[in-house]
Assembly symmetry: C2
Homo-oligomer: 462 residues x 2
């Protein structure tokens, strides 16, 4: 049953405040559906509802990346309950939750765990956020390379319920403990049971990544090679974890949200739109909005320096919004194209000049199209008597046309090059948002406009 | 070895034109790496290289969704070669490629296939693009519910190499052929071999989807429930296909590109930036750019109607770019927030009024912040003698401050409501791009500006 239906049913229900009734109703649902309901409850009710569930069920709920309250819950629950839940959770999710908890409370929670679990979690916590190590799990299946297929299958059956995935079996060197290869379970079950596990190793080369690689790398490898899990090794090629395909999907969704928010000219929200506190949301939006506003103030300065021209030719002011928006729009098209092409590795950093060689004619062409439309509009309005652009209206039309060519070309070039510059400087190219590009183009656009006007209208209007 | 290295090595190589040498070099690489190299070759060389590979290898290459030339290759290869490759390909990829081929050539290719393969492909081709049916594959593992675990395992081993995934086993009613449940392979291998397969069925409810549901639904289910495959049923609950997690990842990547392009104010490119023809790219960009330009022409009309005020108070024109961009930026923030919240089901269509109730105070707060910055700037410049805003500079400052509050509030409201309106009308909310919102806000922004100026400056400047 869908989230909406459960929520609405519970709302209609007179026993909405009766946690026992809610808990028994939720018992029939899948963990992801329970999470959607719990996310709408406050932390107190969530804690009470979780306590009414069997422990395995509570662990299942905490294991869902979509569950919003995991960190908070673990810090307010009694120590032994929290420890029991943490020990049951998958290692990567437990580490994610611990990462959000105050260092003091976190240390206390860790001391409540058995030595092995604590050591595994502490290793995961040591990796900085954003790297593969911080998204991997230590619950994988590895077997020595001198085992037979039958031995491997017996081992898989024995550990099945404590591993995040068993569909990839990792073969390690029995002496040096280094990673030798990965065997998909489908090949294990169809191999001859008496043969060595090495007989089931696929011919293609092993795909692996390092714990310190950026999380993007795990996403790229799983997406490109259609893997269910990618092994993570340390500098000595010891297998230390795996990243599974469901973690990659979660990362992709999160990353795309960040990208869209950045493209909207703001800090990534990192929380649900309806859940984030009002002041936190304002802070995330006001920062960039103010930076853009302060930069855009340069347009006022530019206008001030052209005050003389403005007074002489009021008609020029009429087209300022039109011209500026065209520069911004063409820039925003070009930047969104290149943000995506860079993200998908369709173009590399060194390709900037090839892109520039495409955007220059593209900008000139698009600018000419808009320039012609703009001139047609002025001529039509003048001819049909809708508006009088003065005695030099032909020259005004020419000014607008020429400016549009210049500004759209400039916008396309700026919009396409900015993602490269940002990437080169180590920033996310998605920061080359429409607002950012527009601000850059606006000031220069005004200068282009008035310079062209000075040339064309010199001796007549100016 | 990475794509870059192979490509560079081949470039350095004197035998670059020797296809046999390239083919033998590529033989060591994984299929996704071979695809990256072939994508940079022209269609003729690609065809020659593929013919130099063993058939299974060529099929593997054609099976990669990233391979750009699949459709074109199948139409230019000799009929029997194409038929052999098509028969070897996974059904969903074969259908994808056929979908891009001229109907005439497609019909001819289909007649070259054996009856069963042709029927399966024709069924897949019947589904309209964008629905689950068009992304599913027919190569799944299904077993009758009266089989034992051992029988199921034997069957899985037998069909393993002809199925896209064997990690989900679908149990159907032996009489009515309806879908009963899905069993993860990990549960099958750890179950008692003599027990009924039904003993391995997990307790949670079965997640399934319909062939006519939008592809988004398959993406949502796999992401939410961490599935490796979701079963697809027809109206009578017959299992007709599955969607696998790797198809979902490919769909997510494609969909995010479309979203970013739309947010950039253009039609989705649907091709690699470096590969698309110049004229095709111009067409994708010029359409929206012209529409936005034509709408933005309303700003010229708005300015014309305030010509009298402009002449009396040139000082007002200085702030037009600043004010308009602030409206656009706040609108773009709000629209990007809501585009993403709607895509992630964090808010539903019916929640529009809750969002409006958040954006109204948010807009007022953000507008006040910018308003204060704006007024401080005017007062500072006036006091320090950087610029003289005239005898009524206090009133000018007040006008700018009040306008910013009004325009940022209006921008936030427009930007947040537009995705709802677009979704309600059946369009992609991502079309509520920064350029689109800015254009809407610009015209109204000018009217707000001059109206506030008329009230505050009446009797002094105006």
């Amino acid at each position: 049953m869908s989230y909406t239906t459960i929520i609405e049913e519970l709302r209609d229900d007179a026993v909405i405040r009766d946690n026992a009734a809610i808990a028994s109703r939720l018992a029939e649902e899948t963990a992801p559906d329970v999470v959607e309901v719990l996310n709408t409850c406050d932390i107190g009710q969530t804690a009470q509802l979780l306590e009414l569930m069997p422990v395995e069920r509570a662990v299942e709920v905490l294991d869902q990346p979509a569950f919003d309250h995991a960190a908070e819950l673990l810090s307010i629950l009694p120590g032994h309950t929290a420890a029991r839940l943490l020990a049951g959770m998958s290692a990567d999710r437990a580490a994610d939750a611990l990462r959000e908890i105050d260092p003091g409370v976190r240390a206390e929670l860790l001391t409540g765990l058995d030595g092995e679990t604590r050591a595994a979690l502490e290793r995961l916590l040591a990796y900085p956020e954003g790297c593969v190590g911080a998204m991997m799990t230590t619950e994988f299946v590895s077997v020595p390379s001198n085992w037979t297929v039958a031995e491997v299958l017996r081992h898989v059956r024995a550990v099945e319920n404590t591993r995040e995935t068993v569909y990839a079996v990792f073969v390690v060197d029995p002496l040096r403990q280094t990673l030798v290869h990965a065997v998909p379970l489908r090949r294990v079950i169809s191999a001859d049971p008496r043969a060595s596990i090495l007989s089931a190793v696929p011919k293609r080369r092993l795909i692996k990544t390092s714990a310190l690689a950026p999380r993007e790398e795990a996403v790229r490898l799983i997406a490109k090679y259609d893997l269910l899990a990618v092994p993570v090794v340390d500098s000595r090629n010891h297998l230390i974890g795996i990243v599974t395909v469901d973690d990659v999907i979660d990362t992709m969704v999160k990353r795309d949200t960040e990208q869209v928010h950045r493209m909207g000219g703001m800090e990534a929200l990192d929380e649900h739109y309806m859940d984030i506190g009002f002041l936190r949301m304002i802070r995330k939006r006001a920062g960039w909005l103010s930076v853009l506003f302060l930069s855009e103030m340069l347009t006022a300065s530019a206008m001030q320096s052209f005050e003389g021209e403005l007074e002489k030719a009021i008609v020029l002011t009429l087209f300022i919004p039109l011209i500026m928006s065209s520069g911004g729009n063409s820039g925003s098209q070009a930047s969104s194209l290149l943000i995506r092409a860079l993200a998908l590795h369709e173009v590399r950093l060194g390709d900037w000049w090839k892109v520039a060689l495409r955007e220059l004619p593209a900008g000139l062409t698009l600018g000419s199209i808009l320039g012609v439309i703009g001139m047609v509009r002025i001529v039509t309005w003048q001819m049909l008597g809708f508006y009088d652009y003065g005695p030099h209206w032909q020259l005004v039309a020419l000014t607008i046309g020429a400016t549009l060519v210049g500004i759209v070309t400039f916008g396309s070039m700026t919009g396409s090059m900015l993602p490269f510059v940002l990437k080169r400087l180590g920033f996310d190219p998605a920061t080359a948002s429409a607002p950012f590009v527009a601000t850059l183009v606006d000031v220069t656009g005004l200068v282009i406009y008035f310079s062209i006007a000075l040339v064309i209208l010199h001796g007549t209007l100016l």
